[in-house]
């Protein structure tokens, strides 16, 4: 709606699958203008309703694992990469991913999240996150890395106004408007053994897994560590070579 050249893609994802809702897989349906609405909007509305219906009806078993957001963002990045490959050479595109999610984020997807955030940073794609009820610290790190906007909605009724006010303007316009300031992100790492945030940790030099206290064997890559002296003293030269 904002500009004639804007392109849109919508994806839906839950614990089982994630699919593209608009533009749908098949040929776009041929619709007539039924009321005063702009044709393209009617097309989007119909396709989204149709595909969402399809996804919700096929889902039978109710397994409550958290939704696989990282994979969905990865698919979105592939889609953006294709658009970047096929665009007219002289054109600059600023692309954006807006994630609207109610589910929590899980440490189990930590690896995928990190890969996805660094890829987005490299492709300078901005990731915005609109958290409906739980605070998503991992996704917040993603917004911080790709300088997107993270917002946890206080009450759900105002969702439309939040979306219009905060997430609608493009990045170049955002610094002109007064928007919620990016809150400081806590980047501490979680140790592998107890999964809680630590200040000082021991990192295995081979596989970079983090432990909160010294252990002679690394649990992930099973390499045996040389027992250092009480302090990590430097290995002194044994004999001076003449």
């Amino acid at each position: 709606m904002q500009k004639a050249q804007n392109k849109l893609a919508i994806m839906a994802c839950h614990s089982k699958i994630s699919k593209f809702v608009y533009p749908g897989p098949g040929k776009p349906l041929d619709i007539r203008q039924v009321d005063g609405q702009y044709e393209v909007f009617t097309l989007v509305e119909k396709t989204v309703k149709q595909n969402l219906m399809k996804i919700l009806t096929t889902e039978t078993s109710t397994v409550y694992t958290e939704s696989l957001l990282a994979g969905t963002i990865a698919m979105a990045l592939c889609y953006i990469a294709r658009i970047l490959r096929t665009k007219t050479p002289g054109l600059k595109i600023n692309s954006r991913i807006l994630t609207v999610t109610g589910s929590g984020d899980s440490a189990s997807q930590y690896m995928n999240y990190m890969n996805v955030f660094f890829t987005a940073q490299k492709q300078n794609v901005v990731i915005d996150v609109c958290a409906l009820d739980q605070h998503l610290s991992l996704l917040q790190q993603g917004c911080d890395i790709t300088n997107g906007l993270y917002l946890r909605i206080p009450q759900i009724q105002g969702l439309l106004q939040y979306l219009l006010w905060v997430f609608l303007p493009e990045p170049p316009v955002r610094q002109k408007l007064v928007l919620p300031p990016p809150v400081k992100v806590d980047y501490r790492a979680a140790c592998f053994c107890h999964r809680e945030l630590i200040d000082v940790g021991y990192v295995c030099s081979v596989c970079l897994s983090i432990f909160c206290k010294f252990s002679p064997i690394c649990t992930t890559c099973h390499t045996v560590f040389k027992i250092p002296g009480p302090l990590t003293v430097k290995s002194k030269k044994k004999k001076i070579k003449l």
Binding site: C13, L68, A74, M114, N115, F118, L208, F225
Partner: protein
Amino acid sequence: MADDEDPKEYRWETGYEKTWEAIKEDDDGFLEASVAEIIQRAKRKRQQNKQVNSKLGMMRHLYVVLDCSDAMSAQDLKPTRLLCTLKILENFIEEFFDQNPISQMGIIIMHNKRAERICDLGGNFRKYIKTVNGLTKTALIGEPSLQNGLELALKSLKLLPSHASREILVIMGSLTTCDPSDINKTISMLKHEGVRCSVVGLAAEVHVCRQLANETGVDPPPAAVCLESSLIKMGFPHQMIVEGTEEPLTMCMCHVDSTEEGSKLTTGGYYCPQCYSKYCELPVECRSCGLTLVSAPHLARSYHHLFPAASYREIEFDNQSLNCFACQKIFSEADKQVYLCSNCQQYFCLDCDIFVHDILHTCPGCATNPTTFQMFQSQM
């Protein structure tokens, strides 16, 4: 030292067999199809040789020894050798720190028969980019001294703890070197200290450089096998936000002695968990307590070396699926091959295959498929 002139001596020579024979005209005389096919095969080939990923030592310490003698003002590399090298060095530095975020680098230049250390080991790559840009105006005088350069690098590499890999990269422009004493002694000392030297010769091949590389070089940078792996103590600083109290205006350690624009009193910043000295940028080695300060994403960035995405199998396309799973591109008869992921049985187009394995390092199919996800998670 017999010079083993094996036919395939230089790696980059192998790539160029007679490519002109590979182009064949298809039935109605167009080269279009066969050219596209060659491009695809080239892309695919680049994929292949990346599969084998050696276990890189995570903490790499590299000294770049740059020859700034008058030979570098030769114009065979446009505009001059020095400017061309500096430009490429800039990209190398960026890529180096991108690939291994928690390594350190130092720069030494050799001119006028002496070696001078421009900046010592450190982790902040922006500083290096600035110094490299500053080098464009150095005076190219005299002859380089390879030995002095190596000695200077060795002096500071010797102090490093055993688990860190030590490397020297020499960029040699001139054919002569003027060394105070016998260079072989330096080479044997380097070998003894396990310092790996590689040489980039801009002019003809200098025998001493080849010998230096052969003596001290092991194949890829020393894998964990010859380096005792050890647990490195690291600090994960975080923004100290004490509710209610206003952040004190403090000076950060990394700009404490420098006068350029960065050194203002700031409120934010990362505090070292051990000695609470403040830094405005990570990764950095704390100057007061020597603890390496790093943030979680830095470590995470190098995870993808350890858990690469599954490589895809190339199979003939007979419309198994309507479009590529990742980027929804409709498969047409133009792309002959389609790529199947063994874990999640999804089909991808060639471009997505390259994108996933080069940059993304996660297979979208596996990440959005709960079954493969569990199996993947147990591997963690």
